[in-house]
């Protein structure tokens, strides 16, 4: 009996050990999938390659994360806040000791494509390699050629400040096994070359899905809900759905309006603020009309999902005389007494989806912090919105937001002062 028990226990232990070993082997295998011996490119860096790389770096908005506030371009050091702690962006300048000085083009490609550093270390996906994996080798080489030309800055990479267990290589390996697989952009045969160019830019370097998709509890974007909108981790801004006519879907927009929004930050329908202002200011305003047109064509073709509620009876914000009075006092001079906006200066609030979409986080942020749309060649002197956070109470902000969400044909739900407190 005793012997049998011991044997059973031993067998169980063996099964456990074998199981653990096979899971580990699987995780390792999944982490290495698609990786082959690094192939160095034969091409030397030509001026054309450098110029192309400079443009692609703008398309990928690399400098925004890889430049500390007020710091040297691409020298890294900016902390990217995530729900798991802070990830510090690395130094991409050609400094040999602290930057990419000793990296080869192939190693750079592996970082973009496989999320693996020069020394073989796994990279955290705050660096959006789940999107950049789509970038072609040719474009990666151009980016590499360009980064060799930016001024070298000696600035050692800061260690990440992640909590346990997220700070362990094993946890990262498991995450990658579950949520990352390297890929390359596959041309869709049934679609035009322009559509394909747009898709390549939006899904790859543009990494639009990194913000505009919901994330699961492990911080991975949910593939089935790609572009379905999501609260940006740690920033407390909602990146609206690109697949919803109630949010930021552009299926029924003229292509030119989509191009104008990305190029100038402004259309007659509204302007960009918050993280999207950052994207326009540092990235899309510099892209060619042809590329913006291509991105618009692809974005217009994203599958659209009308919210169920829209077909039924939408909730209507109850009328609030207090909100109407506050609107008249603080908002009407710029946005018009009927929320019609002022052409070329202030966006309309009537029929504006940034006002009426279910998630009112952005609206609260805009009222509380104010802001200017980005200064761009197409809108060089933007009109600003004052921060009302220091001047209005949560109750007052809730009342005025409830008013604009329910007035002039807007039919969005009311917002409580608790809702303001949560979003501000």
């Amino acid at each position: 009996m005793k012997l049998r028990g011991a044997m059973l226990l031993g067998l169980l232990a063996l099964v456990c050990v074998v199981g653990l070993a096979s899971v580990s082997a699987l995780v390792v295998a999944l982490n290495l999938r698609g990786e082959t011996t690094l192939q160095e490119s034969a091409k030397v860096s030509t001026p054309e390659q450098v110029a192309k790389g400079a443009y692609l770096a703008l398309a990928g908005n690399c400098a925004t994360c890889h430049t500390a506030r007020g710091g040297a371009p691409y020298a890294g050091g900016r902390g990217i806040e995530t729900p798991f702690g802070i990830v510090y962006a690395g130094n991409l300048t050609p400094d040999a000791a602290t930057g990419l000085g000793d990296w080869t083009a192939a190693e750079f490609w592996r970082a973009l494509h496989h999320g693996r550093s020069r020394d073989g270390r796994l990279l955290y996906p705050a660096f959006p390699y789940p999107n950049y994996t789509q970038v072609s080798r040719e474009d990666a080489d151009a980016l590499y050629a360009y980064l060799r030309t930016v001024p070298a800055v000696a600035s050692a990479n800061k260690p990440h400040a992640l909590r346990f267990p997220y700070n362990s290589a094993a946890a990262l390996a498991v995450w990658r096994a579950l949520f990352f697989s390297p890929g390359s952009y596959a041309v869709q045969a049934g679609k035009s070359p322009e559509w394909n160019r747009g898709a390549y830019l939006v899904t790859g370097l543009g990494h639009c899905a990194a913000c505009h998709s919901p994330r699961n509890m492990f911080g991975a974007t949910i593939e089935s809900l790609e572009y379905g909108g999501g609260l940006i981790p740690a920033q407390n801004w909602y990146a609206p759905s690109l697949g919803s006519p109630e949010e930021a879907g552009v299926a029924d927009w003229p292509v030119e309006q989509v191009v104008a929004l990305l190029k100038t930050g402004r259309t007659a329908r509204g302007s960009v603020l918050g993280p999207m202002a950052d994207v326009v200011f540092r990235s899309t305003q510099f892209l060619s009309d042809a590329d913006l047109h291509a991105m618009a064509v692809f974005l217009k073709d994203l599958p659209q999902h009308r919210l169920e509620r829209a077909a039924g009876q939408p909730p209507k914000a109850p009328p609030t005389p207090h909100g109407a009075k506050l609107y008249e006092q603080h908002c009407a001079a710029c946005h018009g007494d009927q929320g019609q906006g002022a052409a070329g200066a202030y966006p309309p609030l009537a029929g504006n989806r940034a006002v009426t979409m279910d998630d009112a986080t952005n609206l609260v942020r805009i009222v509380v912090s104010g802001g200017f749309p980005p200064a761009t060649a197409g809108n060089p002197q933007p009109y600003g919105m004052p921060p009302f956070g220091p001047h209005l109470s949560d109750e007052e902000i809730a009342a005025v937001i409830t008013h604009v969400r329910g007035a002039w044909g807007n039919r969005a739900s009311a917002l409580s002062s608790l809702g303001v407190l949560r979003a501000r």
């Binding site: 077909a311 001079a333 029929g351 980005p374 200064a375 009109y383 004052p386 921060p387 002039w408 044909g409």
Partner: protein
């Protein structure tokens, strides 16, 4: 039977389509209402664009009676421009300012600085009245004479004899709330506020004691601003210490 058929067909008209067309009709009405709203226009001016600033800095940047936020109207353009850059680049920290200028380029920040610098608006009477004579005397001594043994230059040595600043980049010290002056000297002491190196004010603020800060800020906030006071023309004599932002 055909009557019955027609009747039943109508009754089978899907209710959700009916609801949808009602909603569409309602939306069309709303669109009509929106379209019918008379167009609203605003002046195409810097004054209109800068309304975002007036909530804190007062109408046309002349400050409010709120007691902290500084007046910006009439300050030297180079100084204002440097501060806008400092807020954008994180050398100065104020949540509202950092957010507002985040996506504005150098060209527009320069225009904003020039716009506020050119405003010539009357100053309100001094904010602080009835401070103790000893405190005022200590403040006046530091502002006008400095403190040689401690290597503290007089404020007027850089900020102009009239303390209204010096074109293009040295700010005036009069017409500011006391709390704002205290706040800035404190921020320099702790390193929260910085300027382009060499950071002259950072060095000075490190040397000042809490009593010095109180005395200087109280005396400055007690002084009336003379009618027509303006920043001085650029100094011809060298400044008493290196200052990274003075010439930018």
């Amino acid at each position: 039977m055909p009557h019955h058929g027609a009747y039943s067909r109508r009754s089978r008209f899907p209710s959700h389509l009916l609801a949808r067309s009602t909603v569409l009709a309602a939306l069309a009405c709303c669109a009509a209402v929106v379209a019918a709203a008379p167009p609203h226009t605003v002046p195409d001016t810097m004054q209109q664009r800068m309304l975002a600033c007036s909530g804190c800095h007062g109408k046309d940047g002349r400050a409010t009676s709120q007691g902290y936020f500084p007046r910006i109207a009439g300050k030297p353009a180079g100084y204002l421009y440097n501060q806008l850059l400092n807020f954008r680049e994180g050398r100065r920290n104020n949540g509202a300012m950092n957010t507002l200028v985040e996506h504005l380029n150098d060209a527009y920040l320069r225009q904003i600085a020039n716009y506020f610098a050119e405003l010539d608006l009357p100053y309100p009477p001094p904010q602080v009245v009835g401070a103790s004579a000893s405190l005022l005397a200590a403040g006046q001594q530091l502002v006008l004479q400095g403190d040689k043994p401690r290597d503290l230059p007089a404020c007027v040595a850089c900020h102009g004899a009239a303390m209204m600043g010096v074109v293009p980049s040295v700010p005036g010290l009069l017409g500011l709330p006391r709390d704002y002056v205290v706040g800035q000297l404190g921020a320099w002491r702790t390193g929260l506020r910085k300027t382009a190196p060499p950071d002259c004010m950072g060095r000075i603020a490190q040397t000042l004691t809490r009593e010095d800060v109180l005395a200087v800020s109280t005396w400055l906030a007690s002084q009336p601003v003379p009618v027509g006071a303006k920043p001085d023309a650029p100094a011809t004599t060298p400044l008493p210490m290196g200052c990274g932002s003075a010439l930018r």
